[in-house]
C-alpha cells in the first residue's frame, strides 16, 4: 500500500472464486437425540448457523434462487454463493431481508431448509431448541411469521429471540460460569442497512433508549458506486455494487478530522499521493499484424493490379483512337465526296449532311477539325513528344463590321466575340495569379531573410501577433457569453440599439410633418448595426482569425526552438487545472488500459464520512456522533460514565480502518474531560454475534427466556418474554 514509489501500484479486482461443493458438516448422529441448541444468526447479508457445541458457525450468503436451467429444463434451487454458479440465477435471487426488515418468508423457508439439510437433520421434526437473532425493535409482523415458520413448519420445541449486537457484546465480556452477566457498555452495531446504538447497563439492554441511523454498508457501497459513475461517465465496463462493496472494504477508511484532511487534499500532489488506482478488465483493439512477407505479398498484388488497370486503360485508349481515326477518314471522304461530285444541289447536300447527323457544313468542318486535332495529339503522345504550347486562337470575324456579314456570319461573329472575351479573361486571370504568386514568394523570401538575420526579433514579432489574435478571440468569446446574460452591459446595449432602430422618433418631428422618411440605409455603414444585433449568425472574422493564428503558430513551431506546443492557442484553452488532472487523470485515446482505470482519491474518505453526516449523501438524519450524543444525554452522569468507559464496536462493517480513532475524536469533545473513555472492537466482528448466542445457549439459564411450543400456541407469534438479550417490542 506504499504509494511513495515512483510508479504507483495498480490494484486489480479480486477474481471471483467459482463456487464449489460445500465442506462437509459433522455427522448428525452426534446430535440426533441430544437436543443440542441450534444457533441461527439471521443476518441481512449472511446467514450463520450451527449447533451450540461448535466453535464456529457455517456461513452462507443469505440469498436463495429458484431457477430453471434453460438447457436441460431442470429446476434448481441454489443458496448463497452457489448462485454464482449459474449466471441466469442471479436475476432470480430472493433474499429474506428486504433492506432492514425481514419480509420474504418464502426465501427464509428455503434458506432454513438449506441450513437444516446441511446439518444433516433427518428426524421428522427439528428437535432442538432454537436461538435465533432478530433485528433490534423488529416489526412484530416479521417476528410473527418467523415464529409461525419455526413452530408450525419445523416443530421446534422452543424458540428464543435475541439481538445480535447485545450477543456480540456478551461474547466479548463473557462472565465466569456461574455469575450472571452484568457488564455495562455502549454497543455500536454496524449492520448492512443500518447502524444502531444500544446502551447496556448491568447486563440488560436498555431498548427504550436505542437509536438507529438508516445508513449501513449497503448504502455506503451504493454511494461509492454513484460517485464513481459521476466521475467516470463514459467508463467502458459496468461497475457492480458487489465490486464497489469490495472497494469500500479494501480502500476506504475513516479520518479523525475530515476538514483538515480536505484542506491538505486541495494540494494536487497530496491528492495524488492518497489515491488508489484500480484496473478493470479491458479489451485490446484488434490490430491485423502481418509479418513482413505478408506485407510484401500484398504490395506485390497491389502493384500487379495497378499494372493490369493501366494496361486496360491503354488498350481502351488505343481502341478509341482507332475508332476516331476511322470516323475522321469517313468524314473526310464525305467532304471529299461533295467536292468530287462537283455541284451537288444544295438541297441534296443538306439532306446528306442531316442524314449523317450534321446541321450544316460548318458543323461538319468543326467536327473534322476536332477529330483531326485529337488524333494528332494522341499520336504525338504515343510517340512520347511533349505537348506544344497551345496557339492563340484567332477570332477573325470580330473585327469585321456588321454590315458585311450575313445572318450566319453574324451568329458566328457573336460566338467569336464571346469566345474572345472569355479567352482574354482567362489570360488576364492567369497573369494575376502569376503576379500574386510572385508577390507571395517575395514576401516569404523577405520573411526568411528577416528570420535568418534576426531570429529573436522575428519570433517576438510573431508572438506579439499571436497574442493579439488570441486576445481578439477571447474578447469575442467573452462578448458572446455576456450577450447571453440578460443583465450584462453588452446585452443592454444591444437592446438599446434595437429600441433605437424601432423608435418612433427616428425621424425628427419637423421632417415627418413634411413627409420625411427614415434615412436609415442611405449610408452604407448603417447596415453594420445588423452584425451587432444578430448574435447567432456565425461571423467570418472568427474563422479568419483562427486560420491566421494557426499559420503563425505553425511558423513559430517550425523555426523557433523556444516555442513549444504548450504555447499554442489550442493547448492553452483546453488546459484544465492541476487539481482536476490529479483528481481524474486523463489518459490518451490510444490507451485502452488507461481508460479502464478508476482512481479513488477523495472518495476513499468521503464515503465513510457519511456515517457521521449522512446528509452529505442526501439522507436527512443525524450522524453517528450526534446519535451517540443523543443517547448518552438521556442517562445520568454516573451511568454515562460506565457506558462511555466501554464503547463496543461490532458488526462486519466496523472493520473499516480508522473507525476507532474517528470515534475517539468525535466523542472526546462531548464528554467531560475527566471522564475516562474506552473504545473496544469486537474480537471477530462478523462472527461474534453467533458466538455469543452459542455461549448463551450453553449456559444453564438457556431456555428460560424462550418461547415454548405451548406458550406459542397460547400467545401467538408476536409475544416474547422480556430478557436482557432480547427485544422489548411485543414483550411482556
Amino acid at each position: 500500500m506504499d504509494i511513495d514509489e515512483p510508479t504507483p501500484t495498480v490494484y486489480t479486482l479480486p477474481i471471483p472464486r467459482a463456487p464449489g461443493p460445500p465442506p462437509p458438516a459433522e455427522p448428525y448422529a452426534l446430535h440426533r437425540d441430544a437436543h443440542t441448541p441450534l444457533v441461527l444468526d439471521n443476518g441481512s447479508t449472511t446467514l450463520r448457523w450451527g449447533f451450540a457445541s461448535s466453535a464456529a458457525p457455517f456461513t452462507g450468503l443469505n440469498a436463495v434462487a429458484k431457477y430453471k436451467e434453460r438447457r436441460t429444463n431442470k429446476p434448481l434451487l441454489l443458496f448463497g454463493e452457489a448462485i454464482d454458479a449459474e449466471s441466469g440465477a442471479k436475476s432470480q435471487t430472493r433474499t429474506p431481508w428486504e433492506g432492514d426488515v425481514l419480509l420474504n418468508f418464502d426465501a427464509l423457508e428455503n434458506a432454513l431448509d438449506y441450513a437444516f439439510v446441511y446439518l444433516g437433520i433427518d428426524t421428522p421434526t427439528v428437535d432442538h431448541p432454537v436461538i435465533m437473532s432478530e433485528r433490534i425493535c423488529t416489526p412484530l409482523h416479521s417476528r410473527a411469521l418467523t415464529s409461525e415458520l419455526m413452530f408450525e413448519l419445523y416443530n421446534v420445541p422452543s424458540l428464543t429471540y435475541c439481538v445480535d449486537g447485545v450477543m456480540s457484546f456478551y461474547a466479548n465480556h463473557l462472565p465466569p460460569p456461574t455469575t450472571p452477566f452484568t457488564s455495562d457498555g455502549l454497543v455500536l452495531s454496524f449492520n448492512t442497512h443500518s447502524t444502531s446504538v444500544i446502551p447496556i447497563l448491568k447486563g440488560k439492554g436498555i431498548m427504550s433508549h436505542v437509536q438507529r441511523i438508516p445508513w449501513g454498508a449497503a448504502q455506503s457501497s451504493e454511494y461509492l458506486l454513484k460517485l464513481i459513475q459521476l466521475k467516470y461517465p463514459s467508463f467502458p465496463t459496468r461497475v457492480t455494487s458487489a465490486q464497489t462493496n469490495w472497494m469500500y472494504r479494501t480502500f476506504c477508511s475513516f479520518t479523525p478530522s475530515y476538514p483538515t484532511l480536505l484542506k491538505s487534499l486541495s494540494n494536487p500532489a497530496t491528492l495524488r499521493s492518497h489515491e488508489r488506482i484500480l484496473q478493470f478488465p479491458f479489451l485490446l483493439p484488434q490490430t491485423d499484424e502481418k509479418s513482413p512477407s505478408e506485407l510484401a505479398r500484398l504490395a506485390e498484388k497491389r502493384k500487379e493490379q495497378g499494372k493490369k488497370l493501366q494496361e486496360l486503360a491503354a488498350k481502351s485508349r488505343a481502341d478509341k483512337l482507332l475508332q476516331k481515326e476511322a470516323d475522321l477518314e469517313y468524314l473526310l471522304d464525305l467532304r471529299g465526296e461533295s467536292e468530287l461530285t462537283g455541284k451537288m444541289s444544295r438541297k441534296e447536300w443538306a439532306a446528306r449532311l442531316s442524314a449523317e447527323g450534321f446541321e450544316s457544313e460548318a458543323a461538319l468542318e468543326d467536327t473534322i477539325k476536332k477529330l483531326d486535332v485529337y488524333v494528332k495529339k494522341a499520336r504525338k503522345k504515343e510517340a512520347g513528344e511533349v505537348d506544344e504550347p497551345m496557339e492563340e486562337p484567332s477570332f477573325p470575324l470580330v473585327d469585321v463590321p456588321d454590315e458585311e456579314l450575313d445572318e450566319e456570319g453574324l451568329k458566328e461573329k457573336k460566338k467569336q466575340k464571346l469566345l474572345k472575351s472569355g479567352w482574354e479573361f482567362r489570360v488576364r486571370a492567369r497573369k494575376e495569379k502569376e503576379r500574386e504568386r510572385e508577390e507571395r514568394e517575395r514576401e516569404a523570401k523577405r520573411e526568411e531573410e528577416e528570420r535568418e538575420t534576426d531570429l529573436a526579433g522575428w519570433s517576438s514579432k510573431m508572438r506579439k501577433e499571436q497574442e493579439t489574435l488570441m486576445g481578439k478571440i477571447k474578447d469575442r468569446a467573452r462578448r458572446k457569453t455576456a450577450l447571453t446574460d440578460r443583465k450584462s452591459a453588452a446585452a443592454q446595449a444591444r437592446m438599446k440599439n434595437i429600441a433605437n432602430l424601432a423608435a418612433d422618433d427616428r425621424v425628427p418631428k419637423k421632417k415627418r410633418k413634411g413627409g420625411g422618411e427614415d434615412m436609415f440605409g442611405a449610408d452604407d455603414a448603417d447596415w453594420q448595426i445588423y452584425r451587432k444585433i444578430n448574435i447567432t449568425a456565425p461571423s467570418d472574422d472568427e474563422e479568419d482569425d483562427l486560420t491566421s493564428l494557426h499559420e503563425i503558430e505553425r511558423k513559430l513551431l517550425t523555426y523557433d526552438p523556444t516555442f513549444t506546443p504548450s504555447h499554442t492557442h489550442a493547448s492553452l484553452t483546453s488546459l484544465s487545472s492541476a487539481l482536476l488532472t490529479s483528481f481524474r487523470p486523463p489518459y490518451p485515446d490510444t490507451d485502452p488500459a488507461g481508460h479502464a482505470r478508476i482512481h479513488l482519491s477523495t472518495e476513499r474518505f468521503r464515503v465513510p464520512e457519511t456515517y457521521f453526516s449522512p446528509s452529505m449523501a442526501g439522507t436527512d438524519t443525524a450522524g453517528l456522533g450526534e446519535v451517540i450524543a443523543n443517547v448518552l444525554a438521556r442517562f445520568p452522569e454516573h451511568e454515562k460514565a460506565s457506558l462511555v468507559k466501554n464503547v463496543f464496536l461490532t458488526g462486519a462493517p466496523s472493520q473499516v480502518g480508522g473507525l476507532r480513532e474517528k470515534l475517539e475524536d468525535t466523542l472526546r469533545p462531548i464528554l467531560d474531560p475527566e471522564m475516562p473513555m474506552g473504545i473496544v472492537q469486537a474480537a471477530d466482528a462478523g462472527l461474534d454475534a453467533w458466538r455469543g448466542m452459542a455461549a448463551y445457549a450453553r449456559t444453564p439459564e438457556f431456555g428460560v427466556h424462550g418461547v415454548s411450543r405451548a406458550e406459542y400456541e397460547e400467545w401467538g407469534g408476536e409475544r416474547v418474554k422480556r430478557w436482557w438479550g432480547g427485544n422489548r417490542t411485543g414483550s411482556s
Binding site: E69, G99, T123, P139, L140, Y154, S577, L580, M616, A622
Partner: protein, 171 residues
C-alpha cells in the same frame, strides 16, 4: 478502433451435427456445477407435511408492515390514555399508575434529522466548497472546477444533485 476480419460464414445448418451412431463408450455429460449445488431434490423430512401455508397470503411490503405497526401503536396509546383518564376520574391512588414507558418500535428508534450545521462539500471533487453556482446549484471548490461545471450537460448536473439528495423536479 478495432479492425475486425470478416470471416466467411459457413452455410447455415452445417454446424448442426447429426448424432453419429452411438457406441456406448462415450462418457455421458455429467451434471453441471449448478445442478450439483442445487438442493431442490434433497429430502427434507423435518418439514411438517400438514402445514398448509396460506398460499393466498401475499407478502407484505415494508410500507404496509410499518403502517400496521403505527396503527397498532396508536390504538394501544389511545387505550392507555383512556384507561388513565378513567382511573383519574375514579380518583384512584396515583401510586398505582404504572409508568408505562413509550415502547420502542421500529419507526420510533430512527434517528431524528440532524441539528448540527451542515458543511458544504464540493459536488465534483469532494473537497470543501465555499462557493455555489447559482445557475445549477452545484457546490464547487475553486474556479477550475467552476469552469468544468459550466461545461456540464443538464443531465449530468441532475445526477450530481441527486447524489447529494437534491431532487429538483422542475427541470
Amino acid at each position: 478502433m478495432a479492425t475486425m476480419k470478416v470471416l466467411a460464414m459457413p452455410p447455415k445448418g452445417s454446424t448442426k451435427k447429426k448424432p453419429g451412431p452411438s457406441d456406448g463408450a462415450a462418457t455421458p455429460q455429467g451434471p453441471s456445477l449448478a445442478e450439483q449445488l442445487s438442493y431442490l431434490h434433497y429430502p427434507r423430512p423435518f418439514k411438517n407435511p400438514y402445514y398448509n401455508k396460506n398460499v393466498n397470503r401475499r407478502a407484505k411490503n415494508l410500507k404496509a408492515v410499518l403502517g400496521q405497526e403505527r396503527e397498532r401503536d396508536r390504538v394501544k396509546r389511545e387505550a392507555l390514555r383512556n384507561s388513565k383518564a378513567e382511573r383519574a376520574a375514579q380518583g384512584v391512588d396515583g401510586m398505582d399508575v404504572e409508568e408505562e414507558e413509550e415502547e420502542p418500535n421500529y419507526s420510533s428508534i430512527e434517528a431524528p434529522p440532524s441539528v448540527l450545521p451542515q458543511r458544504h462539500y464540493c459536488d465534483i471533487t469532494g473537497l470543501e466548497a465555499p462557493y455555489t453556482d447559482p445557475a445549477t446549484g452545484l457546490r464547487y471548490h475553486d474556479k477550475s472546477v467552476y469552469a468544468l461545471i459550466q461545461s456540464l450537460s443538464p443531465g449530468i448536473v441532475k445526477d450530481y444533485l441527486s447524489a447529494r439528495g437534491v431532487n429538483s423536479i422542475v427541470k
